[in-house]
Amino acid sequence: MLWRARDLALDSDPARRFLPWLLAMIVFLAGIALAGMMSLSAAVERWDTGLSGTLTVQLPAPARGAGNREVEAAIAALMRAPGVTRAHALDARETATLLEPWLGTGALMDDLPLPRLIDVRIRADAKPDIEGLTALVRAAVPGAVIDDHKKSLDRLIALARTAELVAGAIVLLVVIAAIATVIFITRTGLAMHAGGIEILHLIGAADSYVARQFQGQALELALRGGVIGLALTALTVFGLGRAAAALGSGLLPDLSLGPAQWAALAGVPVAVALIGMITARITVLRALKALP
C-alpha cells in the first residue's frame, strides 16, 4: 500500500479515461502519415534507381516499316554513340508485358500496331546528348523517338516529394495536437489537485517531485493509447498492402513496408509517450513557479 499509491489522486481524473483514446487516434494518424511517407520514399527510390542511366528508343510500328532491319540499324547507330553500353530490342512478348497494366492480356495485343522498343543503358558517369543521339538514330531509322525518362521521372518525383511534405506536415500537426492535448489535461489536473499539490509543496517537495507525479501519469496513459494506435495503424497498413497486392496492378506503387519501416512505425507510440511525458513535466514546472 505504501508505494503503490500516488501522492496525488491522479488516477481518479476524468482525463484518465479519454486521454489514451485521444492519443490512440493521434498515433494512428501519425502512423498512417508516416507509413505513406515511407512507402512513397521507397517507391521514388525504386523509380530513381530503376530508370536512371537508361533510355528508351521507340521505333515506328512495323506497319510503317520498323522491321528487324531497322531495329538492327538503330542498335548499330546507338552503339556508336559515346556512353552507350548496351542496346537491347524488346521482343513482342516483352512489349506486351509492359503494356499489360493498360491493355490487359488477350488477342487485342496482336492486332495493334505496336512500336518497337529498344532499352538503352548509359554509363553511370556519362551525360548523354539526347538531341545528338536522336539525330543519329533518326539518320538510321526515320521517325525514331528517344525518351530519356528524366522529364517524366522528375515530374513524378516532384509529385512524390510534395506528397511526402504533406505527410510530414500531417505528422507535425499531429505532434502539436498531442502536445496541446497533454498541456490541457495537465493544466486541468493541476487545477483539480491544487490542494494536494500545496500540501506536498509545504512539506518540502521540490517542484520536480510534483512534476514526476504528472509526467509518470502522462507516460503511462500515452503508452497505453500509443499501443492501441499502433495496432490500428499496423492493421490498416497491412490491409492496404494486401489489397494493393491482390489488385495486381503495375499502376500502384508497392505499399508494403520493410522491417526498418515497421520499426520506425513502432517508434511512433514511444515518441508520443516521451513527448507527452516531457510536455507534462514542463507544464507542471512552469505552473509551480507561481508558488512561493
Binding site: 505504501l2 501522492d7 500540501i199 518540502g204 517537495a205 521540490a206
Partner: protein, 237 residues
C-alpha cells in the same frame, strides 16, 4: 532558529495583516502563540513555514535570510519544519499510513525505513489500529493525531502547529500537549498557535500574543497580556 525583524505582511493589495512583528524563537524552546480569531496567528505561522513571503522586514530561519534564498533552496528548509495545519490537510485518497509516510517519501528516504518508522509513529499517537483507514472515515481527533504524526515523522527541528487542540476535548488536548512536550525534550523547537487560554495557563511555557496584527511577548508564566494589546483582541471575541 526563527527571527523576525520588523516584519509586515499583506495579502495581495489588501490591508496589512501583520505590522512590525519582532519575534525570536530560540533553539529547543517551547512557545505558544495566542490571539483571537482573525488576529493574524495563521498568517504569522504561514510566514514561518514558508507558505507566504513577507511584504517587508527580515525573516531569518535556521540562520538563513529567507528573502535572499533562491526558490529552489526553500524545499530543504521546509523539510526541517513540521506543520500541523488547522484543517489537517490530509490526502483523502491515501491511507493513514501513506499520509504519515508522505514527508519521508518527499525527502527521499529509503523504502524499508519509511514503513517501519510510520508504523512506529502511528503506535506512538495511538492509531496503530487504523493504519489502512482513509482519512474521511476518521474522527476529528484521529485526523488531528494523523496530522501530528505526519508533521513529526522527519524529526523536524521546528514544529509549528495551528490550533492543534481546536477539535478535541480538554483531556485529549492535554495528551497532545504532552506529545509536543516530549518532542521538545528531544530537541525540537515548538510553536503552538491556540486561542485556548487554559492550555497556556496550565504550562510554564512562554507565549506570544497577537492582536490586530501586532505581536506582544514573550510573556512568561503568570504574566498577562498588556491592556493595549489585549483590548482589541477581546473585541473580536
Amino acid at each position: 532558529m526563527v527571527r523576525f525583524q520588523n516584519v509586515g505582511m499583506r495579502y495581495g493589495l489588501g490591508p496589512e495583516v501583520l505590522h512590525d512583528v519582532n519575534l525570536h524563537l530560540a533553539p529547543g524552546s517551547f512557545n505558544f502563540l495566542s490571539g483571537a480569531s482573525g488576529a493574524g496567528k495563521s498568517s504569522l505561522l504561514k510566514l514561518i513555514y514558508l507558505a507566504c513571503r513577507p511584504s517587508r522586514g527580515l525573516i531569518t530561519l535556521f540562520d538563513a535570510d529567507i528573502a535572499t534564498l533562491p526558490r529552489n533552496a526553500l524545499p530543504p528548509i521546509r523539510r526541517r519544519i513540521g506543520v500541523v495545519f488547522q484543517d489537517f490537510r490530509l490526502l483523502d485518497h491515501l491511507s493513514v499510513l501513506d499520509n504519515v509516510a508522505l514527508p519521508l517519501r518527499v525527502a527521499g528516504a529509503r523504502r524499508n525505513e519509511i514503513g517501519d518508522h510510520a508504523r512506529e509513529l502511528l503506535r506512538w499517537v495511538g492509531l496503530d489500529d487504523c493504519m489502512d483507514a482513509l482519512p474521511p472515515t476518521l474522527s476529528g481527533g484521529q485526523k488531528q493525531r494523523v496530522a501530528i504524526a505526519r508533521a513529526v515523522i522527519t524529526r523536524p527541528q521546528l514544529l509549528v502547529a495551528d490550533e492543534p487542540t481546536g477539535n478535541v476535548d480538554d483531556s485529549i488536548a492535554m495528551r497532545l500537549l504532552r506529545l509536543f512536550e516530549e518532542l521538545n525534550r528531544l530537541g525540537t523547537t515548538v510553536l503552538i498557535a491556540t486561542h485556548n487560554e487554559n492550555l497556556i495557563r496550565r504550562t510554564a511555557h512562554p507565549h506570544y500574543h497577537l492582536s490586530d496584527g501586532e505581536l506582544t511577548g514573550p510573556l512568561h508564566h503568570g504574566e498577562t497580556v498588556p491592556r493595549t494589546a489585549a483590548a482589541p483582541a477581546e473585541g473580536h471575541g
